[in-house]
């Protein structure tokens, strides 16, 4: 409350996480409802999400969100406590409620208003659902379980215990001891195993035999009998105690295994950090990236000194030592840049998860049955790309549903399953990530697209005959190619595909289409793994335009031809009494270029100290944030860092200032020698 703005960001980030988790759990719950088997763990976890959401939105004074999540909490509480049984109407209302929370959160983030009527409607619906399904009174039958344990159970845990007893399951108390510093690993392993054969109702910690040890008693319910459980845990360092349930005649009442000393871990107790994740604004990462860029330029200056030292002093100790340090610095800088890129990566499932919700909604709206299959969700991409990918991907998926997938009746006629499938797939490919959206719908009619292109006057009939299938499909990306009347003709694909292509190109990505009439279509997006955004100056030199990173640029000066002096056959510029070598950018890239006399030019001062350079250009056009795309290994041009697509300005080469400084330094030395 001290910093409302920061708190709000933190709050919104957590709401986003909660909404994502709720969606996932709702989907799992939905699957469970279909299968007639609801996992109590999922119900409890989703209850907790709603509970947290209610708490934090209440404290933020977001009354609508608090009320809505309160209603959801009520429903989940009733469900988990067995007072309400789940059905499709409840599931639909819950999905819609999560959607609204998502909308509310987005509106809040943008400072926009949100239609509150919709919230009132869903709240009324949730209330009706809670009331309608006859409530089952939760009976508090005194279970003959150790009072000491019963007193520690939450109401929910007690409910689960009773449910399990009612189902005739056997209840055990399983004791295990772990080293304090690593207990969660061992405990998680044990719990995961137990959950595969039953239900862990409660986890009760207590002090271990020594201060370094923690003891846990797990209240465990299973359909297995005593002998089987005894068998399963034989040889493990566990104490198994029967609490209630079936005992085989030859078994005993209490099945206690001989205790063996727990594996003592020799390492000392360490001060472990409590939380191992940090949320960072991506802009901060961009600014670190810029600093790394500047460091690289400083490093270029050092490299130059290394060369000079070598020339002047030969292979003496300082020259050799500095050269070694310089090499090391280069390696570390490269590492630093790579680590920075790693930090920006997030798994694509963060994006895929959002579509599950959308598809559910679209499928209701269009009356088409759609199943979304995702794979490769662990593939990582730059956070910024993930953000920018959401809209184009949404567009592609919407197209697939609107125009690709047929209505169930039509699908049935051609012998396809009633439910259409959309396959969302991600996989890495070298320095790129490929994302495919494949549907098993109607596909596109390539011939119809060709005719349309001819009719639109985009190409004449004769030349169009020579086009490859792929070339013809390219027409879809031409703005306005596909209009309403084209919908029936070419399966209506292409609505706004020009915009999609533009968006993808902006991220330095490419888009391809593969289609087969009657079988379906596949849209393939190829994206760079990272998008480090850098600030640049767009400059003109000769007939070309370049982008020059702003980092490391000292100042920009208007230069008149008479300002350029010649000293020892070299062109120099005198800046506040300091002589700085001049490099004409046009000549740098094309030494044969004829220099035209110009009335005014611009000088960009770059570098530091001894390696300062005045890069002479015709003019500075604008400042621009760009994404650098590497040219690939085959195109290693000194002084060029990569290329960038600026849309209206076309593709520009990005100047590598550090590279130019080092090449120029060499030239100057050579020329001077």
């Amino acid at each position: 409350m001290t910093e409302p703005k920061n708190d709000l960001n933190e709050f919104l980030a957590e709401v986003e996480d909660i909404v994502g988790e709720m969606t996932n759990n709702l989907i799992k719950l939905g699957e469970g409802v279909n299968a007639g088997q609801v996992d109590p763990d999922i119900l409890n976890s989703i209850f907790r999400s709603a509970h947290t959401l209610k708490g934090i939105s209440g404290m933020f004074g977001l009354t609508e969100m608090a009320t809505l999540s309160h209603k959801m909490e009520d429903i989940f509480d009733s469900l988990r406590m067995g007072r309400l049984s789940i059905n499709h109407a409840i599931m639909d209302a819950l999905f819609e409620a999560v959607d609204l929370i998502n909308g509310l959160m987005r509106a809040k983030a943008k400072g926009e208003e949100f239609g509150m009527e919709r919230i009132a409607v869903i709240i009324a619906r949730l209330e009706q659902l809670t009331g309608a399904s006859g409530t089952v009174a939760s009976r508090s039958k005194g279970a003959d379980i150790d009072k000491g344990i019963l007193g520690v159970l939450t109401e929910y845990e007690e409910h689960r215990l009773q449910e399990n007893i009612k189902a005739g399951h056997t209840i055990f108390l399983i004791g295990a001891e772990f080293n304090l510093t690593v207990f969660d690993e061992g405990l998680t392993e044990l719990t995961t195993y137990l959950k595969s054969v039953g239900e862990v109702i409660a986890t009760l910690p207590s002090t271990g035999k020594s201060p370094e040890m923690l003891h846990f008693d797990l209240l465990f319910s299973t359909h297995l009998d005593v002998a089987s459980v005894e068998d399963k845990f034989r040889g493990k360092n566990l104490v198994v105690k029967l609490m209630k349930g079936h005992v085989r005649p030859q078994g005993g009442g209490d099945v206690t295994e001989t205790e063996q000393p727990s594996e003592a871990r020799p390492e000392e107790a360490t001060v472990r950090s409590v939380s191992n994740t940090v949320r960072v604004d991506i802009k901060k990462l961009d600014s670190i990236m810029n600093t790394i860029g500047e460091l690289s330029q400083l490093k270029a200056s050092i490299t130059q000194i290394v060369h000079r030292l070598r020339l002047e002093m030969g292979f003496t100790w300082p020259a050799i030592e500095l050269a070694r340090i310089d090499k090391n610095l280069e390696k570390r800088l490269k590492e630093l840049r790579e680590r920075m890129i790693e930090v920006r990566m997030v798994p694509v499932h963060q994006l895929f998860d959002k579509f599950t919700r959308v598809i559910r909604k679209l499928s209701q709206e269009t009356g088409k049955e759609i199943e979304l299959v995702t794979s490769g969700g662990d593939t990582e991409l730059d956070k910024l790309i993930i953000e920018d990918l959401a809209d184009p991907l949404m567009h592609i998926i919407r197209n697939a549903i609107d125009h690709g997938i047929e209505i169930p009746a039509d699908r049935d006629k051609v012998g396809k399953p009633m439910a259409g499938t959309i396959n969302l797939k991600a996989y890495p490919q070298g320095n790129h990530v490929v994302i495919e959206v494949e549907d098993d719908g109607a596909g596109m009619n390539v011939e119809a697209i060709r005719k349309k292109a001819v009719a639109k006057g985009l190409i004449d009939e004769v030349s169009s005959q020579t086009l490859s299938r792929q070339n013809i499909l390219e027409f879809i990306f031409i703005p306005g190619f596909s209009t309403k009347d084209a919908v029936s003709e070419v399966s209506g694909r292409g609505v706004g595909m020009d915009v999609v292509k533009k968006n993808i190109a902006h991220m330095s990505g490419t888009i391809d289409i593969d289609t087969e009439e009657g079988k379906g279509s596949k849209i393939i997006l190829t994206l760079p793994i990272t998008l480090a955004i850098i600030q640049t100056l767009v400059i003109a030199a000769g007939a070309r335009r370049y982008a020059m990173p702003l980092a490391g640029t000292q100042e920009i000066i208007d230069i008149h031809p008479s300002d350029i002096k010649t000293m020892e056959k070299k062109e120099v510029y005198i800046l506040r009494g300091r002589t700085i070598p001049v490099l004409r950018l046009e000549q740098f890239f094309n030494p044969a270029a004829e220099i035209k006399k110009r009335a005014a030019m611009s000088g960009i001062i770059v570098g530091f100290a001894d390696s300062m350079l005045c890069i002479l250009v015709d003019s500075v056009i604008s400042e621009q944030d760009v994404i650098i795309k590497p040219l690939g290994r085959l195109l290693k041009v000194p002084g060029i860092a990569g290329a960038t697509d600026l849309g209206d300005l076309g593709t520009l080469l990005v100047v590598d200032v550090a590279g130019i400084i080092s090449v120029a330094g060499r030239w100057m030395r050579e020329r001077a020698a």
């Binding site: 708490g55 159970l153 910690p205």
Partner: protein, 127 residues
């Protein structure tokens, strides 16, 4: 030496709000745990003068944490405040039976929380 307060809650926003409510108190240092396991790990590392805990958490519940603390001679005198929902009367009752000093309901009033925390820190007997 400042008073150490341990805040156990699985919601980062909630922790941030608890902290902003009590950090204004003089000589108070707040340590965060984002679940019960973290709390168990933190306990041996420093002496705590007060613990504020949620009940419903993903690994162990607040009640289980309180039970652990009260049975441990080293921690049993640390005052405990439960900060949870109004959802279950039974949970509240059990928490107090297990030895919690207070039960506050979320969403909480920062002013009230600050007063309660101050009360326990002032009466705390730490040498």
């Amino acid at each position: 030496m400042p008073f150490n307060v341990l805040v156990v809650d699985d919601s980062a926003t909630t922790r941030a709000m608890i902290i902003s409510a009590i950090e204004v108190l003089e000589d108070t240092r707040v340590v965060e745990a984002n679940n019960g396991f973290d709390a168990l790990r933190l306990l041996p590392l420093m002496p705590f003068d007060l613990i504020i805990t949620d009940i419903n958490m993903p690994d162990i519940s607040g009640l289980e944490l309180i039970n652990f603390l009260k049975k441990n001679p080293e921690h049993k005198n640390i005052p405990l405040i439960i900060l949870s929902t109004e959802k279950s009367e039974k949970d509240k009752e059990r928490g107090l039976v297990l030895g919690a000093s207070e039960y506050l309901v979320k969403p909480f009033d920062p002013e009230k929380l600050r007063m309660v925390v101050e009360k326990y820190l002032k009466t705390g007997k730490r040498q």
